[in-house]
């Protein structure tokens, strides 16, 4: 296997946002993630690709401890964000998730108004001192989610009434409203049509200015379009992790090449 950590450590030490070392994940008796070590850089879009069931979503969910909500899931190894072990006993997973936002595969707006959907996170974290500040946070988040112009006249309408693409951008806006440092996206475009996908991809590229973005995707083209770094997972192993341009033009591992050319999957 291509041993990434030593390679990248030399070049971009200061820029590493998330550092995972020898991560193992078990679902009951199933060994879902085997020895994954990876360093995710700040202000970069990192794409996780790989066939279904290869563990890329599971690994993504380790980064904000979403796997804690699954009883049978066990995580071993170290995951450090800004040098701090997120699986340390002193770390509150709730605080961690406020710092590491997540967007899911299927748009999941709450059955509340558009405004309340966005204000949900800022409210529970006490980010606004008064209504005016909250309004400002909501508007900023919706603008960053590239959906402000479409919904500004109907903020009190239910979020579930939007179209699929709008709902997903609403969910992205909801995630950025809590001012996270890292944004995890689990196949954010798999339920969207090409036009909505293009809008979301454009958005992801803009979000890179402020966050480290990690995106799981089944679309090789999408990975190539939006990401700067790409990690290829296969059967729970991290096979290869490098610059996106290198992975797609000159992969080192034969399995990576087979996958991106469509021979395994």
């Amino acid at each position: 296997m291509y041993d990434i950590p030593h390679h990248t450590q030399e070049t971009a030490v200061t820029d590493v946002k998330i550092k995972a070392k020898d991560v193992q994940v078990y679902y009951g008796d199933t060994h879902a993630i085997k020895d994954v070590s990876v360093e995710i850089e700040n202000n970069t879009v990192t794409a996780f690709i790989g066939p279904s069931g290869c563990g890329k979503s599971t690994f993504l969910r380790c980064l904000n401890r979403m796997n804690d909500t699954i009883d049978i899931c066990r995580v071993q190894g170290d995951i450090l964000i800004d040098g701090e072990d997120i699986y340390d006993k002193r770390v509150d997973p709730v605080q961690l998730r406020a710092k590491v936002g997540m967007v899911f595969q299927k748009p999941n707006p709450f059955p509340k108004s558009i405004y309340d959907n966005i204000a949900y996170g800022p409210r529970i974290h006490g980010m606004a001192r008064n209504k005016a500040e909250l309004d400002e946070i909501v508007e900023r988040a919706l603008r960053r989610g590239a959906i402000w112009d479409e919904v500004k006249d109907r903020l009190q309408a239910p979020g579930t009434g939007l179209s699929g693409g709008q709902q997903q951008r609403l969910c992205i806006a909801r995630a950025v409203a809590t001012e996270p440092e890292v944004l995890l996206m689990d196949e954010p475009c798999s339920a969207l049509d090409p036009i909505a996908t293009a809008q979301v991809e454009e958005l992801i590229d803009e979000l890179r200015q402020n966050y480290a973005v990690v995106i799981v995707t089944h679309s090789m083209q999408q990975a190539a379009r939006v990401s700067q770094k790409t990690a290829f997972f296969h059967l729970g192993n991290l096979v290869e992790y490098d610059d996106t341009s290198k992975i797609f033009t000159n992969p080192e591992d034969s399995r990576t090449e087979s996958y991106i050319t469509g021979r395994i999957g």
Binding site: T69, Q95, C171, T178
Partner: protein
């Protein structure tokens, strides 16, 4: 031929037709099943269906129609002079039926020959004595017109049953032949059988609906009868409930308001107990409990729903009532005179409703998509924030529906009220006073010895109708809310 034998015979014919039709189509196909339109059993079922169903249908209709016909024709034989002053035609007819049964019994026990039973005259032989010797119930001296009518009744019934047997068997055979004749390989037996099953399902559904309709109609007619005898305005707006029973005389006050107030007061106390406990236990079970605890606790909670309400009533009468009296009674705070009170019945009814609220709410909370919870957790919300701000609002319409269903249970509850709340109809705000509800009063009005045609008895139907309308309204409202909730995540 006894009825059971006739039915068995029809079914036997159908079974025979089934086997025959199946064999016939197999023979026609030359033992190659692939040339058949349907599987061989469908041909058999089609023929059996055509044999048995029309025959049994005729049987049922005949059994309903024959007594009507016999009664009318026998009734015509009884002259008006044979009906005593204090009696009525229907009473005399009942006597005729009893005498006919007595004659049957006398023949069966060997006290009389068939010939005697047919031709005996009441003025010559001592019929009454011989019938009671045979063990039949004879209330008065059997007179000649009654005896003649009874004899005619027996003859008509006997011939009727003979004709019925013949007709039913003929139809069974004819239907079977029709089914067998149809049986050819290209006949679409499968589709016909499916249609038959469809008709069967429709029939079952319409029986359920027609029964509901029948219940409503029986209530409506008696209610109308009641309002003829008692002014509706006094019934709906009267604040006093004081029925006078037969023998005591005097006019009755039949105002529904004290009863409605008792019903609502007890139901509200019950809901105040049941809703928080039920809802909180549902939240615990669906969100916090480990699968082990849940697997144990949920059935335990649902055991509460299986306890008969009379047992709850005993619990109220023997345990909760005395307990409350010891705290709020004369020895304690002095608010409570006796163990039977709104509070007693309300508390116990609340316990009864806990499983309704918790079980329904639990299902509804579980139906909230996991994606909602994930979304909330992903934003850094704690479990309790997620439940309060995402899960419960999403489940709220369904929970309201569950509560309304529980409320209509509470309003219709009887036994706990009878044993726990007392029987005094009263408009009072003190929850430690004895009060009573609409349902409890329906029981006491109908089980008394008052004349069935008096307003005191008929009021039960008006009460029942009012209750029916109220609970129906609540149920429709609950269903409306639950349906609205379903649309939220299509």
């Amino acid at each position: 031929m006894p009825l059971l034998w006739l039915i068995l015979l029809v079914l036997a014919i159908a079974a025979g037709v089934f086997i025959f039709a199946r064999a016939r189509v197999l023979a026609q196909s030359g033992q190659d099943r692939r040339t058949l339109h349907s599987l061989p059993n469908y041909y058999g079922s089609n023929a059996a269906m055509k044999s048995a169903i029309p025959a049994l249908l005729v049987l049922v209709i005949w059994l309903i129609a024959q007594p009507l016909y016999v009664n009318t024709s026998v009734s015509g034989m009884i002259p008006d002079t044979a009906i005593a002053e204090s009696s009525s035609r229907s009473l005399v007819l009942a006597e005729v039926r009893r005498t006919a049964e007595g004659l049957d019994l006398a023949i069966a026990t060997g006290n009389m020959t068939e010939d005697e039973a047919r031709n005996m005259r009441a003025d010559i032989s001592d019929v009454t004595q011989r019938l009671s010797d045979a063990g039949a119930i004879v209330t008065s001296q059997v007179t000649q017109p009654v005896l003649r009518a009874a004899q005619q009744f027996r003859v008509l019934n006997a011939t009727g049953y003979q004709i019925m047997t013949a007709v039913v068997l003929l139809i069974a055979i004819a239907g079977g032949l029709w089914g067998v004749r149809e049986t050819r390989p290209e006949f679409r037996a499968r589709n016909v059988v499916e249609q038959g099953i469809c008709v069967l399902l429709i029939a079952a559904a319409s029986i359920a609906i027609l029964t509901t309709l029948g219940i409503v109609l029986s209530l409506v007619f008696n209610t109308i009868e009641f309002f003829r005898l008692y002014p509706a305005s006094e019934f709906f707006f009267g604040t006093s409930w004081a029925p006078s029973f037969s023998g005591r005389g005097g006019a009755s006050d039949l105002g529904i308001l004290p009863l409605l107030w008792g019903t609502f007061y007890i139901s509200i106390v019950a809901l105040i107990v049941a809703v928080p406990i039920g809802l909180f236990s549902a939240i615990y079970l669906s969100e916090y409990a480990s699968p082990k605890v849940r697997a144990f606790a949920k059935p335990m909670l649902e055991v509460l729903a299986g306890i008969p309400t009379i047992v709850y009533g005993l619990f109220a009468l023997l345990t909760v009532g005395p307990l409350l009296v010891s705290v709020f009674g004369d020895d304690g705070l002095g608010w409570m005179q006796a163990g039977t009170a709104v509070m007693t019945a309300g508390l116990v009814m609340g316990i009864m409703l806990i499983p309704f609220v918790s079980s329904l709410s639990d299902d509804i909370i579980n139906a909230v998509p996991q994606a909602m919870r994930d979304g909330s957790y992903g934003l850094g919300a704690t479990q309790s924030e997620t439940i309060r701000q995402v899960v419960l609002p999403a489940a709220l319409p369904g929970i309201v529906g569950a509560i309304l269903l529980a409320a209509s249970r509470a309003i219709g509850e009887t036994m706990i009220v009878v044993l726990g709340a007392g029987a005094a109809a009263r408009l009072s705000l003190n929850p430690f006073d004895a009060m009573t509800t609409v349902t409890a009063k329906i029981v006491s009005q109908l089980t008394g010895d008052s004349d069935f045609a008096s307003p005191e008895a008929l009021v039960a139907f008006a009460l029942g109708m009012t209750l029916f309308v109220i609970t129906l309204g609540l149920n429709i409202f609950a269903l409306y809310i639950v349906r609205k909730y379903r649309e939220q995540y299509e």
